[in-house]
């Protein structure tokens, strides 16, 4: 680059020098011409003057040779002393040739015209170049009065001038070459000087481009350059600033890139970890969901239960449940939690646990569902909801009591009848609004009646053509299964469903449950206590929790259901409840101080002819209610002690009260005949 600039400047210089030399040469030639003309003029004027001093009359016969000899030296005063005088002509006032150095001669118009012109008043010497390269100068010869008396023409060759030039040609050439060389050197030096800062900047720029700082020498030179006050100095200064700036930015940028890279890799790591955690969570939620559906369903010859669930790829929130309640009824539920993912699975886990616990605390399904709903509403930040069907089958009575909380109505398949939808109870989904009342419906179940419960994963399952399995198809298939046991019924439908969907992707959990009421007597005779003989079948029994709050209402409902089924009246119910209340209160308040978890309390009840038999057991310390302090009911009010009254009441309300301590358990048996009108009015 720099060398190119140097080259260009050199070429320009050379061209310039050559042009200058040419101009010099031309000027030299011109000056030679000028000096030739000047010589001719001086010569002719000198001749004219000397002729004037001679006798004008004699001009006609002037000795021109003498004249020339006289005047010849005077021509030496000019530069052109080397000029050779070739001819002198003298004209008279009429411009006729008066004489010449060559004697009489023929004159032409070219000689006469200048002679005449020169004799015009005020005309000076006329000089003309002749075709042969020589010069002619014509001057008037004027008298003292200024009038022309004649003219003289002088001719001389200019060969002398060419010779003069040839004489000095070598010196000219040498001079020109010297100047040329000097100029080339000067321009080379100048170009070098001019190009140097640019070269430095180029090197420095290369360094900056490569991400380095300019070499110290280069930088120092540039700094020196920047101190000069010309454009280069300014440019170098600007360049140095720029290089510094670029360097600083580069460093900053590099640091930034390093930081960002580190940050990015850190984030990637965190992301990977988080993804792994999510995968683990999903897997865990998946296994939680799978684990939370009961693996063992209740086994009771009076009813059959079969259930199935396939979670979709994402974790869903379907669940089913079936279990025996503490008071010996078969409770079951099917439910679908809105949404998918971990939140839904957790909601499902909570919902199932709450419903199971509520089913044992509240004898009426409507209360159990309402309680579950209240609790779900209190712990539902994601505003999920659960559609659920919850039912309880009283296996003794052959009744189904159910609540439908916004779920697809299950089907009832009575023997030899078309499937029918179980009428909706109008409840809304759980978890939406607290403190709702849910209606329940009770329907009788004939032996052989089947129930089919499902979630929308079945009816909305699609085949490859995007068609849904649908309710109609389900009803049709259910009609074809009439008489099949619950497992066969369920498998039939699932088989039909698989055939329908083929290889299409499963979008939702597929969950279903089938139950069949068989009826008949309780399968296993109840063994009231260890070491005792078996009692006849027909007992209904419930396990009681050792807190009054949970046990009293449940025992009361248990007794009421039994009494209703057996046709006992309010008096019997009240007496039985009162007795159980007293026994339970006594056990719970005194039997297990501080170790309630060890309590094992149960109530069993059966009818025998016109009598009702109640058996109450607990594993507390030995206590015979019959030996409790007899209370004198005849005492005046003021004299009666407060409390201690209950156990005594039992003895007075039952026909027969028996206590025994057997195998570490207190067993109290109460028997009472059906109340008669006479007894009531007694």
């Amino acid at each position: 680059m720099a060398s190119r600039i140097v080259g260009m400047i050199s070429v320009l210089t050379i061209v310039g020098v050559i042009a200058a030399a040419a101009v010099l040469l031309l000027l030299a030639l011109d000056s030679e011409e000028q000096s030739g003309q000047q010589s001719a003029k001086v010569l002719s004027e000198s001749v004219a003057r000397s002729l004037l001093s001679a006798d004008l009359q004699a001009l006609e016969t002037a000795d021109v040779d003498a004249l020339i000899r006289v005047n010849a030296p005077s021509t030496g005063e000019s530069d052109s002393d080397a000029a050779e005088l070739t001819d002198i002509w003298v004209f008279n006032a009429q411009a006729r040739l008066a004489g010449s150095s060559e004697g009489a001669r023929q004159i032409s118009r070219d000689e006469i015209v200048p002679a005449r012109q020169s004799m015009e008043p005020d005309a000076g010497t006329l000089v003309q170049g002749l075709p042969d390269g020589s010069y002619a100068a014509t001057t008037a010869i004027r008298g003292p009065d200024g009038a022309s008396v004649g003219a003289v023409r002088v001719e001389f060759t200019t060969d002398q001038i060419g010779t003069h030039f040839e004489l000095y040609q070598t010196e000219y050439l040498i001079g020109v070459i010297v100047i040329l060389v000097a100029l080339v050197l000067a321009s080379w030096f100048l170009a070098k000087r001019l190009a140097r800062p640019i070269g430095l900047m180029v090197r420095a720029a290369r360094a900056v481009e490569d991400g380095r700082q300019p070499e110290p020498g280069v930088a120092a030179s540039l700094r020196n350059t920047s101190l000069t006050r010309d454009e280069y100095g300014e440019l170098a200064g600007v360049f140095l600033d720029m290089a510094r700036e670029v360097g600083a930015r580069e460093i900053q940028l590099n640091a930034l890139v390093e930081d960002r890279t580190a940050e990015l890799s850190e984030k990637n790591q965190a992301l990977e970890t988080a993804q792994q955690e999510i995968r683990n969570d999903l897997e865990m939620a998946h296994s939680v969901q799978a684990a939370l559906v009961p693996s063992d369903l209740p086994e009771d010859p009076r009813a059959g239960v079969a259930a199935f669930m396939t979670p979709a790829l994402d974790v869903g929130g379907d669940f089913y449940d079936a279990f025996m309640t503490d008071d010996g009824r078969l409770a079951f539920a099917i439910a679908d939690v809105s949404g998918k993912g971990v939140a839904s699975a957790l909601m499902m886990a909570v919902g199932r646990a709450l419903l199971r616990s509520a089913a044992n605390q509240h004898p009426d399904p409507s209360d159990a569902v309402a309680s579950t709903n209240d609790q779900l509403c209190g712990m539902n930040p994601k505003e999920l909801f659960i559609t659920a069907f919850f039912g309880v089958i009283d296996l003794e009575l052959g009744t189904l009591t159910y609540v439908n909380a916004g779920h697809d109505p299950p089907y009832l398949i009575r023997p030899n009848e078309e499937p029918e939808m179980i009428p909706h109870t109008g409840g809304i989904a759980l978890g939406v609004l607290p403190e709702l009342n849910y209606a329940e419906t009770t329907i009788p179940l004939d032996p052989g009646t089947a129930l089919y419960l499902y979630t929308d994963g079945i009816t909305e399952a699609e085949n490859d053509n995007g068609q849904q399995f649908g309710r109609e198809r389900l009803e049709e298939k259910l009609a074809g299964t009439n008489g099949a046991g619950p497992k066969a019924l369920m498998d039939d439908i699932l088989g039909d469903l698989r055939q329908f969907t083929g290889d299409a992707k499963q979008f939702d959990d597929i969950t279903c449950m089938a139950l069949q009421f068989v009826g008949g007597a309780s399968p296993e005779p109840y063994i009231p206590g260890r070491g005792e003989t078996h009692l006849a079948s027909g007992w209904r029994r419930m396990v009681v929790q050792p807190t009054l709050e949970s046990s009293l209402p449940r025992v009361a409902a248990f007794v009421e259901r039994f009494a209703e089924a057996q046709g006992f009246g309010a008096t019997e119910v009240y007496r039985i409840n009162l007795a159980l209340d007293e026994l339970l209160t006594n056990t719970i308040e005194h039997g297990f101080p501080g170790r309630e978890q060890e309590a094992d309390i149960s109530v069993a009840i059966r009818s025998e002819g016109d009598s009702v038999i109640v058996r109450y057991e607990d594993n507390g310390p030995e206590f015979n209610p019959l030996q409790a302090t007899e209370q004198d009911t005849e005492l005046e009010l003021e004299e009666r002690p407060i409390g201690g009254l209950g156990l005594q009441l039992i003895a007075s309300t039952f026909d027969d009260v028996n206590y025994e301590r057997a195998d570490g358990r207190n067993v109290t048996t109460l028997r009472q005949s059906r109340a008669t009108p006479s007894e009531e009015s007694d």
Binding site: L552, T585, G646, L649
Partner: protein, 111 residues
């Protein structure tokens, strides 16, 4: 919390409890009823029309209330007691010490 649905008929405080009185709410029933007596009401009629179950824990509270009112020269009486409940008053001998009337107007006449 037990609501006694109190109202006054002249100087007689008429209480109208509902549902069950058993071991689970006897304590609340006791506080509510004895609180009334401590506040100065000694002429009290318990309208038992809405009570369908009372256990011995509830009876005990009635006994305490009867004692307190009688100490303050007042009276505690019951009316409209359902048949199956009336039986327990009979068996326990409470019907001898706490007057039980068929209905409310008849009961109010005895104050």
């Amino acid at each position: 919390m037990v609501d006694l649905y109190p109202e006054y008929d002249d100087s007689v405080l008429v209480l109208n409890p509902l549902g069950r009185i058993d071991g689970t709410n006897a304590k609340a029933f006791e506080e509510a009823l004895l609180g009334r007596i401590d506040a100065g009401d000694t002429q009290i009629l318990m309208n038992f029309e809405g009570i369908n179950y009372i256990s011995s824990a509830g009876l005990r509270v009635l006994l305490m209330a009867a004692k307190r009112t009688s100490q303050s020269a007042g009276q505690l009486a019951l009316c409209a007691v359902q048949d199956h409940i009336q039986e327990v008053f009979k068996f326990s001998g409470f019907s001898e010490i706490i007057p039980i009337h068929d209905d409310r107007p008849q009961a109010l006449n005895t104050f």
